[in-house]
């Protein structure tokens, strides 16, 4: 299945892209998807570390075990700093 993966701010600079299409197996959990994103962009894990990254599925903060579905939008970013 295909998922759109978005990066913002520091993660976009690290990856050098703001958006990529990735293919995951059915029933992939968010944490497993993140591991595959780290394989594709090792500098993401290196520069930021897993603990400082947050992810959202379809514009909602997601837990590690949230299941990703075909056509979902996954976003990976550092702790927010607006305001």
């Amino acid at each position: 299945m295909n998922v759109k993966v978005l990066f913002f701010g520091a993660t976009a600079d690290t990856v050098g892209k703001r958006e990529v299409e990735m293919s995951f197996d059915e029933e992939t959990a968010a944490s497993a998807a993140l591991s595959q994103i780290f394989e594709k962009f090792p500098e993401l894990q290196k520069n930021h570390g897993r603990k400082s990254l947050h992810f959202a599925v379809n514009q909602k903060y997601a837990d590690d075990d949230e299941i990703i579905n075909d056509g979902d939008e996954l976003a990976v970013f550092t702790a927010v700093s607006g305001g």
């Binding site: 701010g9 702790a79 927010v80 700093s81 305001g83």
Partner: protein, 150 residues
């Protein structure tokens, strides 16, 4: 845009245009209210002794708007307030320019102070917007407090 009833008219917006704090403050006024508390957040020249040249704000816009709406709903549950407006600017901002305005109106001022302070604290914790500080000799994306979120 979210409307609670015929009169109330909460709003939450992200824009690339300069913010007019007075216009936003007056937009939340209702006849049953007597006070509006407004936070105007803007670009500070010095952060930890280092001089900022300008800031760049970037938003994950659809999610940021959805998180702002959640904050408004939560604040209305939590405080005795009438009307809320939240507007955040994105793009390049010079020193002194407003990045965020939160305006809260209420019949009595105490609740408006509490709600406004709570809203900015929560916005800085949950709404997906990031800022990059640009100095004479470099730039840094500012990272929020992850611990505050978890």
């Amino acid at each position: 845009m979210k409307t609670n009833d015929g009169q109330k008219n909460h709003f939450f917006e992200i824009t690339g245009e300069p913010l007019d704090v007075g216009e936003i403050a007056r937009r939340v006024v209702l006849p049953e209210c007597g006070a509006t508390v407004t936070l105007d957040g803007y670009v500070r020249k010095f952060t930890k002794g280092r001089e900022t040249d300008y800031l760049v704000y970037e938003a994950y816009e659809p999610m940021a708007l959805s998180e702002m709406e959640k904050l408004i709903d939560a604040a209305l549950e939590k405080f005795e307030i009438a009307n809320i407006g939240i507007v955040h600017r994105v793009g390049r901002l010079e020193i002194g320019e407003t990045s965020v305005v939160i305006a809260v109106s209420s019949p009595h001022r105490r609740a408006a102070f509490e709600a406004c302070e709570w809203l900015i604290k929560e916005l800085k914790r949950t709404v997906p917007i990031w800022k990059k500080e640009v100095y004479a000799d470099g730039e840094t994306w500012i990272e929020g407090d992850s611990a505050a979120f978890n």
